[in-house]
């Protein structure tokens, strides 16, 4: 984990420096990087529940949509400023995850995945029927053309999520999540309150996701259910995390960077449908050939899953 944390600090430094970039970039690159920060944040958030606790959530996009709608409703109907609307979105995401997580996180494996998928689809359908939220027509938000603001906001969310992950990774809570992932019964025997740890992890994940959703809504100034509950977001969160390394600290951001770079490069080339095909093929190859993602290659931690190494690590960390 030491090497992983050093990488995380390095990433935070690089990201902090990138805050200086916007005045020197054209609008296109500001846009591309803002989206990259957003997708990285979503992947970092997914990693907390999917990577650390081992619960593959196909419903995290729910919190993105709920955060976006909470922000839109607060700004549009209640005329709140963005800062408070943003806080509402964070709280709404976390609270919803806590309420849903209590029953849902008792399910394991496929059952949990399917249940979360159902929640994502159900929430989209529900929002599309609620008149105060504009039904299928969506909602508009006040226009803010200062796109640098969104760059810094998304960057802030990403840095906060990486710092949070680095903190969790060396905390009792983080080890509890890993223990749950490796063997939930054994974790319970060790005295870990698995239910509480999982719900807390999902709520943190949802808070970050909701924050990104709120910022996204204000940025695009128009949201509708298919856009913010788009399951593609969820699939991307998972693939980015897997590509970088699930359960690592900055793996999700690394994965997001690689996928965004490839997607950006291919998407910018032509209007042919081939760019999506090529991207799809790359994703398949990654999942098949790199089941543990890229992080182990960077941290020299290739044998981390070796039981002896894990034991040695745990001993060294004096949990």
């Amino acid at each position: 984990m030491q090497a992983g944390r050093r990488l995380a600090y390095g990433a935070l430094v690089v990201l902090a420096l990138s805050a200086l970039l916007p005045p020197h970039l054209n609008g296109n690159w500001v846009h591309v990087l803002t989206l990259f920060f957003m997708m990285s944040s979503l992947a970092q958030a997914w990693n907390l529940i999917g990577g650390f606790a081992g619960y593959a959530s196909f419903g995290n996009v729910t919190f993105f949509g709920v955060g976006a709608y909470a922000c839109a409703y607060a700004m549009n109907a209640l005329h709140w400023p963005f800062a408070t609307a943003f806080l509402l979105a964070v709280v709404a995401g976390a609270a919803l995850a806590a309420v849903l997580g209590w029953p849902i996180l008792r399910l394991r494996g496929h059952y949990f995945a399917i249940a979360t998928l159902g929640i994502a689809i159900g929430m989209q359908a529900l929002v599309a029927e609620l008149p105060p939220l504009g039904k299928g027509s969506g909602m508009t938000l006040p226009i803010n053309s200062n796109f640098h603001f969104f760059y810094w906001s998304m960057l802030g969310i990403l840095m906060a999520s990486i710092a949070l992950t680095a903190f969790i990774a060396q905390s009792r809570f983080g080890y509890a999540l890993v223990a749950i992932r490796e063997n939930e019964e054994a974790a319970a025997v060790l005295g870990i309150n698995a239910a509480r740890a999982k719900v807390f992890a999902w709520s943190l994940s949802a808070a970050i996701t909701g924050a990104a959703g709120a910022t996204y809504a204000y940025w695009t100034s128009f949201i509708d259910p298919p856009t913010v509950f788009d399951l593609n977001f969820n699939v991307l969160m998972i693939i980015m995390t897997l590509l970088g390394g699930a359960g690592s600290i900055v793996g999700p951001t690394l994965g997001a960077f690689i996928l965004s770079a490839i997607g950006e490069y291919l998407g910018a080339q032509s209007v042919s449908p081939w760019h999506t095909v090529v991207l799809g093929a790359i994703i398949v190859l990654v999942v098949v050939l790199l089941p543990r993602g890229l992080m182990p290659y960077l941290t020299g931690n290739l044998r981390a899953f070796n039981l002896n190494a894990l034991r040695a690590q745990l001993r060294a960390s004096r949990v």
Binding site: G27, I143, Y216, S270, H275
Partner: protein, 416 residues
Amino acid sequence: MVSATDRHHRLFAFLTGITAAAVLAAGGAAVLPQTAAADDVITFGAALSATGRDAREGALTKQGYDFWKDYVNAQGGIKVAGKMYKVDIKYYDDTSDPATSAKLVERLITQDNIKFILAPYGSSATFAASAITEKYQVPMVDPNGAAEAIFNRGFHYTFAILSPAKKYLQGILEVAQTLKPRPVTLAVLAANDQFSIEVAGGIRDYAKANGFNEVFYSEYPPDTKDVATLLTQVKQKNPDIILGSGHLQDSLLIMRAAKDQGVQSKIIGFSVGPSTPDFITSLGPDANGVMGGAQWTTALTYTDATFGSAQRYTKLFQAKYGALPDYHNAESSAACETFAAALAKAGDLDPGKVRDALAALDIDTFYGKIKFDSRGVNIYKPMAVEQIQKGVHETVWPADAANAKPLFPLPPWGKR
């Protein structure tokens, strides 16, 4: 025996190699045809749906843009301030996603340095793109984003040449009022998205004010794959008129479900679908008798300086693509023509001046008159109604442009 670590390293190298090869191949292919922008070329930009749910409509839009480009280039180009310019269009695929549309329009403006934007396909994408063109004060001409919400935000750089959404189905009820015995009861099915709800709202208001009796109204999810239960409910109400407000895929689903369940109305019509060639090829004889709101039809009698007339546009288009133009093609070509007229009027390539020229424009095109109100909506243009008769699109409304009488009432299923 190879160790696990070695195998991982080898796979990693293999993967890196493949990725690099794919990226280089894609890059190489794209780099070759790129030439430096000459100063006698005006380049427009468009982010269109080449993939995703609106891929078909996006392709029709691109065809319309390209047809205009090739035609005017063959004529020597367009004239601005006494100088002839060739035209070019830079495209990206927005994958039918509004956020991607916005991103790519920003790329067109800030990375590719393009000053004139042709809108994406559809209301949601146009909505997203309009915020970007407004920010950069770059004019955008919109051929097929009809939701009025786009134009109620006080923007100054988006101009729509098409009729607004609420007019899409009105023509069909206008036709119905002329028929004997006059059909009265009405069922409306609407996709739950911004454009389709505006269309449905417009037609429901019109129906109420003009003595129609709405016996059924329902919204369905925009990406629905099954409308059977909806049609079951419609059948129980036995309406004279069934109107569907959605997109091409929805109209095909509703037609198939209506046939399966033997739902027999006197009129059936859709906001989007019947005008596309795909509607007839997908449904065969079952497409006969279906009405569609159309932004434009080949029978209309408008004339202009570029293509001559709607008929000549049709002939040229058919000669090039081997198919009749549908209204998406026509409105897309007309959007380009509108841009060219504004450029000529401005006599300048400055986006602000072209924007002002667009705002003051008042021209005839093969597609209809074009003049914008202060919101950027074309105030002149009426909608037409097409009906498919014997596998061919016939114009049945407005009466002065009609080339066929309405087929009424609809023959029973199996005899269409």
